[in-house]
Symmetry: C2
Subunit: 389 residues, 2 copies
Amino acid sequence: MLRQIRLAGRVPRIELASQTGMSRATVTTITAEFLNAGLIEEIARPDNTPDTRRGRPRVDLKIRGAAHALVGAKISYRQLSLILLDFEGEELGELEMQLPAETFSPDRLADLFADAVDRLARNAGLTSDDVSGVGLGIAGIVQAAEGVVYWSPSLSERNVALGEVLTRRLGRPVFVDNDANLVALAEQTFGLGQSHSDFIVVTIESGVGMGIVIGGELYRGTRGCGAEFGHTKVHLDGALCRCGQRGCLEAYVADYALLREALTVPGDDPTAPPAARIETLLNAARAGDATARSIVDRAGRMFALGLANLVNIFDPELIILAGEQMQFDHLFADEVIAAIRTSIVQIDKPPPEVVIHKWGNLMWAKGAAAYALDHVTDLALAGLSDNAA
Amino acid sequence: MLRQIRLAGRVPRIELASQTGMSRATVTTITAEFLNAGLIEEIARPDNTPDTRRGRPRVDLKIRGAAHALVGAKISYRQLSLILLDFEGEELGELEMQLPAETFSPDRLADLFADAVDRLARNAGLTSDDVSGVGLGIAGIVQAAEGVVYWSPSLSERNVALGEVLTRRLGRPVFVDNDANLVALAEQTFGLGQSHSDFIVVTIESGVGMGIVIGGELYRGTRGCGAEFGHTKVHLDGALCRCGQRGCLEAYVADYALLREALTVPGDDPTAPPAARIETLLNAARAGDATARSIVDRAGRMFALGLANLVNIFDPELIILAGEQMQFDHLFADEVIAAIRTSIVQIDKPPPEVVIHKWGNLMWAKGAAAYALDHVTDLALAGLSDNAA
């Protein structure tokens, strides 16, 4: 019912009864508990018409924003992005900071993270102690239920109980998940996924990630290492991947994959920073250089092949391609989308919608905040039923 | 609760209460409805100890087998396999018949099908009218909810409302689904899937099929054409597939894929029937012929690559490889299973279990019967709640 109120924004009790199929008395009882716990509040109707029978103003129910403050965070390459939301999902503040290195020990990361959360809270006139929960999205292989990171490009160790480490250091509950899963959650909570129960989010950064929503629920696999789209194989004994295996999709579409072929592109300077070299490569492709085009085109076709495989396996309603930087425009090209459509099983029905959604790191952080919000809501509701028992 | 009784086989009311968390009074009320509707029956305990308080014999509840008769059917290449089950899942009869052609018009198939169902029922001392529901598994692309077959190798037309056609012809409700989905349902109802909530079944016949169970439910995709594992692409612009596209997994592992490379194998006779040529090829490979080995090995490695992709995407607990014929032994080889393990994302956890389950067509038919049983149960329960309202 709390979810219904959240979705509606503001809603009268009688409408909640008809939406949930519960009796008005049950709705009144349950919402009274929520009111007592401070999770929701009453708000006068905009038109402020008095209840004719009782002669008092009619009220709607809404989520009480001040009930909880939540932090969402996303660790990406040398950058930490944080957002502070209230319980209604309204933004109270944000913070982006450069990280001093690429990989960290768990304790070092915990120190940096605790400082950042504290700074973010103080900027909004709060302290860390006012934060009810923190969500963190991190690239890599994460067992979300236990907050264990089997492997991440941001950590110098494997098999880190990062949720525990951060919870201990912050003194607040911290919930960790794979970052692409949290983008899927953000789409479901705030974005295009609100109106879809089965969709796939594919994220493109230096790696390729995926989040799967099936039947309205995030699907995480049974060991916490599903949705590794970037490491699905698109070529037997193919190009070498950073993971050590051959033929992974990432080994054809990631930055480093493009760059190892870029040496023969006119103007390429192997001593330049990766981003500059990618820029040179893409400019050369746009200018019609055949070598550059060949590199970029193959990446696009491999990406389309991988996406078509997802369609053939999942048959989703919607695929959301989520990436921030312009440098991935070649993967979002019309030819790539068209190539997906010709590589899927053909039936006399329209193919799934493919939507491009360019997000900044703060939107990834917002997904992490949504994850914290879900957990904090569950904890609050569990508290209510403990009191009732 | 009916499912609990079905799973338990026989169970006392008090145990149902503790399993479902319902009160004993609620369990008594609901099971009384089931008893009245004839869906379950009481049966004396084996030890026959009297209830000390009430002085009457203790009873267990069990599904009443005679409540419904169900037919399951599977159409494969030139063959129709049927099984007749009672409501307990006990087999009452089976029937296998050769089909006079490879493809049929919907009406012609309906005639053959109705005859077969009638014959099966009569063999068991029943008539078609005694059959409460029929499940049919068919290769191809099926929208199960509406029983529409977008395409099947057994039908001469596309977009056939086969469920409707068969229901009209038989006068009994017929439920149609993709055959691999029904193998997954059979594994869930009668087989290895009983103890797993997330597993994948991969079927190998002349094509490669897949059924996905997530969270204890069969996942069918949103347009009815998901789980097309055989048409996931394993090579950009690769080998030509029967579907007209290039690089599909089937184009590397199916019979016809092996045979188009078999011409250079010693002893191959291109005028011999396909099964005989496959036999020659596999024998040559076993005898160490390098050409034959190369063909068979590549098929196995491509198959392993495709399965590793499924693991990387789904991270299931279990993969069941279901195929009947010995001719697929090369795909079930230890090297293939080992290749899966080296191609999945490596974490410090054991890889998912891969189990080989050799089934005949009658077990596919049993899955179809389980599908009919689910539908008939739903109809019976809907009837109960209509009466209650």
